[in-house]
């Protein structure tokens, strides 16, 4: 693994208070967005519905980036399949939203979603049962990605599959899932996935209340995950993870079971990604197998690299900045976006291995 990526616990520069202040200011700014959205249409400070929706989406991306960073930046586990955990969480929430449509679908069937009626289903498949309850769906959004991460991790880590081998394996995992979810007979809507959602927790999704509610839920999730990750990396657990990243076999000879540490952080990471996906789906109003595309996962990895891996705030910063550029560039020169993104991969790995945070640190010095 590469040289010296500092743990936040050890560094004195820049002053930690400054960082903490900047984080709080950022969160406060984000929290203000839905309120500014309430201002009358003519007001200079008014924020559009679009901005609120897009920012909400970015917050979910930031949680995904955080999940990747805690595994990659700290434990050295580079997963190229985190999009799969994100999408599975999204599908779990999507199933709940589909069940809530009830008889309001095009075919008006009281129980079955439209696509099932269309495909000639007689009754709900067994794995759809229970998704009409919100807590159950939320639990599944956490447990299904967690279980997948656990199984894949267990199979890989115990047989010492590390580095690029693990990356390739996770990429194959999300690719296989994408192919599977494209199939109609899987019972997940095939190609089209789920869309045309109506409501969540009794609130119609196309209302301002729902948009703000989801936005704050996402913000809360981000803050919670940030807090949790910060706590983890500041404990001895975090230091063992860094040790695993830099000299895995040495950690073994110290008597730590590297497999269980990797498994713990990877499963946690998968769960975080799942929750991010679960909030993402009602925010954007659609989930389809495209979310499993290997390109999505690797794009999320580059957010972390751009922000600066091994620094939690870097992951969040990277997710926001890359997606801001993406939104801006795809609107006026869509052909250029892929060049820019490809160029970003090259530039960050070659010129900016510590990411934006590394750049600020160097400045501060």
């Amino acid at each position: 693994m590469s040289g010296i990526t500092a743990t936040p616990a050890a560094r004195g520069i820049p002053p930690r208070l400054l960082v903490r202040g900047a984080i709080l200011a950022g969160i406060a700014l984000l929290a203000a967005l839905p309120l500014l959205n309430l201002l009358p249409a003519g007001s200079a400070l008014r924020v559009s519905d679009f901005t609120v929706a897009v920012t909400g989406k970015w917050i979910c991306y930031a949680v995904l980036a955080l999940a990747i960073d805690i595994a990659w930046g700290y434990a050295g586990i580079l997963s190229l399949g985190h999009g799969a955990f994100f999408a599975l969480g999204g599908y779990a929430m999507g199933m709940h939203l589909m069940r809530l449509i009830g008889p309001r679908g095009v075919y008006g069937h009281p129980v079955l979603p439209d696509f099932m009626v269309f495909l000639g289903y007689r009754e709900l498949p067994w794995y759809w049962l229970g998704f009409e309850h919100f807590p159950y769906a939320l639990l599944m959004a956490l447990l299904v990605p967690g279980a997948l991460a656990f199984i894949v991790g267990w199979l890989s880590f115990r047989s010492r599959i590390t580095g690029v081998y693990f990356s390739i394996l996770t990429q194959a995992m999300t690719y296989a899932l994408m192919l599977a979810f494209f199939r109609n007979d899987m019972g997940f809507g095939g190609n089209n996935g789920f869309t045309d959602f109506k409501e969540l927790l009794g609130v119609p999704l196309n209302t301002q209340a729902a948009r703000s509610g989801l936005f704050y839920a996402a913000l809360l999730l981000l803050a919670g995950c940030l807090f949790l990750c910060r706590h983890i990396v500041s404990t001895k657990l975090g230091r063992v993870l860094v040790a695993v990243r830099d000299a895995e076999s040495r950690v073994r000879f110290l008597g730590y079971s590297v497999t269980s540490f990797k498994l713990a952080v990877f499963t946690l990471s998968g769960m975080m990604a799942g929750l991010a996906g679960a909030l993402y789906v009602p925010l954007v109003g659609i989930i389809n197998p495209g979310e499993f595309a290997p390109g999505n996962s690797i794009e999320a990895v580059i957010w972390v690299a751009v922000g600066g891996r091994g620094t939690l705030i870097g992951a969040v910063l990277g997710a926001f900045s890359v997606n801001a550029v993406k939104t801006w560039l795809t609107s006026f020169a869509p052909d250029l976006w892929l060049f820019a993104l490809g160029g970003l991969f090259v530039a960050v790995t070659l010129l900016l291995p510590q990411g934006l945070v590394g750049l600020f640190r160097r400045r501060a010095r």
């Binding site: 730590y256 540490f261 713990a264």
Partner: protein, 246 residues
């Protein structure tokens, strides 16, 4: 230390693609013994260490530490039995401070949840402080291990072994690449560490082995060639042939 355990290797062979790295090797190290293992390049010294610490599985033979069959355990489990290993090339955790390196090595529950709840208490802090003094790095406790010199990294690694408080210590070429002064300090450090522990030192440097002044085992082509005091071994005609050419 409740029960003193000895190391016992019997008929151990390791075959890589037809190449016999170890060939029917037998070795007994008594509790509390300091043993030097010497041999020319490719004699199987490092492979022997790998087998004892679980990095390599033997193709045949028995490896026991007290009542434990080491061939059935992984590296972490073997380390937790009280077998510590110092590598030829010092490996410490560059991104952690000297203090944190020692803290990780400190005897404590090793599972993720315990690590999450771990709080450094006064006893542990004092113990780390004592080791810092012993290895001469007290002034650098807050520095990243990555910025230490080669010799300091060696000492930090030895310090980590002290924190582990092992019953059996395996040391692989501890003075390779050291200055004479550092070599002397290291020999003294090792002797002090040995105390009541069993120590196996693998070394090229015969002067260093002589300085240790203990029983010597000579390995050649994966099997034991000779065993005894340094003088007896140096006068063994088979050893002379191996070292001086045939």
């Amino acid at each position: 230390m409740t029960k003193r355990q000895g190391l016992y290797l019997d008929g151990v062979s390791v075959v890589f693609d037809g190449f016999r790295a170890l060939n029917n090797l037998s070795l007994i190290v008594d509790p509390g013994e300091l043993r030097a293992v010497i041999g020319p390049n490719g004699a199987g010294k490092t492979t022997m260490m790998d087998v004892i610490t679980g990095k390599t599985r033997p193709t045949a033979g028995t490896v026991r530490f007290g009542d434990h069959d080491l061939t059935r355990m992984d590296e972490a489990a073997i380390a937790n039995l009280g077998i510590g290993r110092k590598f030829q090339k010092p490996t410490v955790f560059d991104a952690l401070t000297v203090f944190e390196n020692l803290e990780l090595a400190l005897k404590a529950p090793r599972d993720p949840l315990s690590c999450l709840r771990w709080r450094l208490n006064a006893v542990s802090r004092a113990r780390i402080g004592a080791v810092l003094e012993e290895i001469g790095l007290a002034a650098r406790a807050a520095d990243l291990a990555g910025v230490l010199s080669h010799g300091q990294r060696q000492w930090l690694e030895i310090g980590m072994l002290l924190m582990q408080d092992p019953e059996l210590l395996l040391v692989d070429e501890p003075v390779a690449g050291m200055t004479d002064q550092e070599t002397e300090q290291t020999a003294a450090l090792l002797r002090r560490i040995a105390g009541h522990r069993s120590v196996v030192v693998v070394e090229h440097d015969l002067e260093f082995v002589r300085a240790l002044g203990e029983k010597v085992t000579v390995l050649h082509e994966g099997t034991m060639l000779s065993e005894g005091s340094i003088d007896a071994v140096q006068n063994d005609p088979r050893v002379i042939e191996v070292y001086l050419g045939r």
